[in-house]
Amino acid sequence: MSKQITTLQAINEAMHHAMAADPTVMLFGEDVADPEEGGVNGASKGLSTKFGDLRVRSTPISEQAIIGAAIGAAMAGMRPVAEIMLMNFMTVAMDMITNHAAKLRFMSGGQTAVPLTIRCTTGAGFGTAGQHSDFLEAWFAHTAGLKVVTGASPAEVSGLLNSCIFDDDPCIFIENLPAYWQKGDAPTDPGARIPLGVARIARPGDDVTVITYGPQVAVAQAAAETMAAEGVGVQVIDLRTIVPWDRETVLNAVAKTGRAVVTHEAVKAFGVGAEISSVIHEELFSDLKAAVQRVGAPSCAVPYSNPLEKAFVPDADKVLAAIRKTLN
């Protein structure tokens, strides 16, 4: 068995590797330097000590200034990684992200580029409630000019983060808070890159295709186990990159199974699942044996109370129900 590491370690090692490999890579965000313990979860431990205060900086609580600084530095040839502690705090910097980072290449006719990576984490499960657990990837996916990426295991997170850092476009890199302390195989090499835009078949299966990403990959796999026991083969696709998403892999897969479910932890209504579902219907209308089903959170803020929070996050039962719907 290969070495087991947590997601936090994977991020930490990928960052170490990237900063060692390329002097233009920088990191800034709240508490990220070592005097501040290398991030509240320790994701960036050791970086400021190793690479110095010029390249690794703890910032004031000023998300607009953080992203602005990352944009400017990126335009001037750096490859900044900006950490926004939690995804909900991106709301404070939406002008910088969507009016500027996303658009500057286009609006300048290609003269300026913004090769920055915004790391953020989120996700329900720890009772942090309405303002600390939102998945907002649909907003960023709808904003032309941003790449939106998320990994489902330590090695995946590492490989995708490396690709984001060295990508020439602005990337929103979404981490999952509960997954930080989960272990998985270490990547073969902390500098290994997983190309953006290429989905992964997380589990093969011939009858139904479940398309998902991030923490819901494990949920989908659990649902697939249950269906396997019933003799139904469920294929699980981990998108990895939400923008640009791998239409080819998804459409080829669903063309074969004829049945598809899309699931994510974000609110279902107007979520990423709607785009995937629509495209599948548009492209494979006559091949489909049933309507594509979507699974996602209900249309409310993430609730605090434990039983409510559990009911909010899509679980294997909800994915199973959706799979069964495609089989009727």
Binding site: E30, E36, S58, P60, F89, G130, P307
Partner: protein, 331 residues
Amino acid sequence: MTDSTTGQPDKAVLIDMYSKMSLIKQNDEHARKLLMSGRLPMIYYSPRGQEVIPSAVSVNLNQDDYICTIYRGTHDMLAKGVPLDALWAELAGRATGTCKGKGGPMHITHPESGCMITTGIVGSSMPIANGLALASQVKGDGKVTVAYFGDAASNIGAFHEALNMASVWKLPVVFVCQNNRFGEHTRFEKATAVGKVSDRAASYSMPGIHVDGNDPLAMHAAAKEAIDRARNGGGPTLIEAMTFRFYGHVFGDADGYMDKAEKEAAMAADPVPRYRQWLIDQGHASEADLGAIDAGHEVNIKSAIDKALDAPWPDVSELYKDVFINDLAAV
């Protein structure tokens, strides 16, 4: 309420302040004990060490005055009068909580006692406080709004926008910065380009008061001045109240980023027992008087916790309620 020559509040107020401080301190001790025991896992930001500030502020407020506070604000809530039972039920995520269990520790709301919002977003208490104050100005209802926030929050855009607007519109609002010297793991000086947050008041032509937030009389005087001004149409004030948080940023914080000596010194100067002793020394209260207050709180806190942990969980149908005024269909 206040002696006009010494400016010192009268005995009832002095005791009231103590009672609030004692309540906050004991409540915090129970919270941390409960967390340690594993009986109630929750995200918890201890306000221990900062008891004086909201206690001294609240004795100058009416029940229907408003406060806007933050994730760390259990002290602000208790000082303002949020009842223990509903508070603890909310912390425990129960249907009987202030917010039916939907908000949790970072979002306690209790309009009946004037606690209008608890926000988890740094800086966001201030613009919303302006709005409450604006409503008072329009209605002429004479209410004052207090916005609590931390030192690190003085570096975020919302602070700037809110203070500028409050000054331009002369809103009846008091901005109370609780400077506990840290924002999460980052020292105040490392993130803040000014020595005193209160000096930033000049950018808004607003009075700025720098005060020892652990000194009950000084804090009381500062709060009174600012609240009186707001109530009398004199507009907003920025108060920077110096203090210290004893238990780090969030429960479980390993404190590795803190200077041990600094922390120990702050804890040794614990403002609650210090003030308790002063009250006795000055003859404002006897040990027995204060003991009775402490004991009363102890009973109430324990009872609130017991009731909370026995209370029913909210029904899953709550996910579809209170999103809008009319319930959602569960699609």
